[in-house]
């Protein structure tokens, strides 16, 4: 096992790959019916999407009539990235869209989460939140003119700067699952999980 890592390192592997297969399982948005989702990836400059969609659009969902009031999507997310640096690890940004009483498309909520940083399978529950008008006046105006606050580019949710002036209302949850595998992270010296002390063997 250690020889394989050493060979890969000597062969000059300079980049690693991240492969994620999963799905957006369901959304709980009790206030709203007729929802569809759009997902996008946000990542750093050292990352390159090798396989998979840049943007995915789901089906239109109606709430289940039972007490759960659930939107089930089972919407596949499959992507492979290549990178030289863990910084800028990809994030999945999801926009949940619906229709208001005037028939216009309106953002019902956003969610953002990192793709997993360890190999394995994981189920995540991620909150959904919607930006709010900054004042009561603009909120009333928005309701009248059917203009609801939204992010001009949802990718801002992947950044740490520029969100301090936004007021949001969290109003639901999204359940996702991911199965993750990596290639060459060990060859490049990265330790992603506890207990991987393969270097100690080299010293002996």
């Amino acid at each position: 096992n250690f020889q394989a890592i050493q060979m890969a390192a000597e062969a000059g592997a300079s980049s690693f790959m991240l492969n994620v297969c999963g799905q957006i399982e369901s959304v709980e948005l009790p206030h709203y019916d007729y929802i569809f989702l759009i997902y996008q990836f946000v990542h750093g400059d050292d990352w390159e999407r090798v396989l998979g969609l840049e943007e995915g659009v789901s089906q239109l969902s109606s709430k289940s009539a039972d007490v759960r009031g659930l939107h089930a999507f089972a919407f596949p997310v499959e992507v492979t990235f290549k990178s030289t640096n863990p910084h800028g690890w990809p994030q999945l940004v999801v926009t949940a869209l619906g229709t208001d009483i005037w028939g216009n498309q309106v953002v019902r909520g956003y969610s953002v989460c990192h793709l997993p940083m360890q190999p394995g399978r994981v189920t995540k529950r991620v909150p959904l939140f919607a930006p709010q008008s900054s004042s009561l006046m603009s909120k009333l105006q928005g309701l009248m003119q059917s203009e609801h606050p939204l992010y001009t580019d949802p990718k801002i949710l992947g950044q740490g700067q520029g969100r301090q002036v936004t007021r949001v209302r969290s109003l639901g949850q999204m359940t996702l699952n991911f199965s993750t595998s990596m290639k060459n992270t060990r060859a490049l010296g990265y330790q992603l999980l506890p207990g991987e002390n393969f270097g100690a063997a080299a010293a002996m």
């Binding site: 990192h114 360890q118 740490g160 969100r163 969290s170 109003l171 010296g189 330790q191 506890p194």
Partner: protein, 175 residues
């Protein structure tokens, strides 16, 4: 050089007396550490939850350090503020958490406290709003003598952080 990546989110805050909250955060580290990439501070969105008691920030943290030693391991410090209906902010909790030294995914609940004023301070804070703050916020995360500080518990800040280490094994360090 050994490298550390800390990547994740400030997920949110809960168990505070009010739910309309935002959080300021900052990373601190010793002189043996050098920040290569990533922002060391930020301020989250203000969440006014529709229901439930958790305010969600979903604020990304992505830091890349290089280090020559274990001393001064990075820590993140938080200040949670309540944002009221009139748009004023008052401090409701100070807290800090060390970046975990073990690689992998970590879910961290960071406890917070707020300084307690005199009886008159507490009464006026209930009626007029606002709260007292520390003059020197580094008291929250540095090894200073705190014996003159009187505090009351605040709620919790929830973090989900993944740590990736590089070349630690080459230097014989076990995490």
């Amino acid at each position: 050089m050994a490298e550390v990546h800390v990547i994740g989110q400030i997920v949110g805050a809960s168990e505070f007396p009010e739910n309309d909250l935002f959080c300021k955060w900052e990373a601190h580290f010793g002189p043996a550490w050098k920040r290569l990439e990533g922002e060391v501070s930020g301020q989250t969105q203000v969440d006014c939850p529709a229901s439930g008691e958790m305010a969600y920030f979903a604020h990304p943290i992505d830091l890349h350090f290089a280090t020559r030693g274990l001393q001064g391991w990075p820590k993140l410090h938080f200040e949670v503020f309540h944002y009221d209906w009139a748009g004023r902010s008052s401090l409701v909790g100070y807290g800090f958490a060390h970046v975990p030294s073990q690689p992998g995914l970590h879910k961290i609940d960071c406890v917070t406290w707020r300084p307690t004023g005199s009886f008159m301070d507490e009464v006026s804070s209930k009626f007029v709003g606002g709260g007292i703050q520390l003059k020197r916020p580094d008291l929250v995360y540095e090894l200073h003598d705190r014996r003159n500080v009187h505090s009351t518990a605040g709620g919790k800040v929830h973090l989900e952080l993944s740590v990736i280490l590089r070349n630690f094994d080459k230097f014989g360090v076990e995490c």
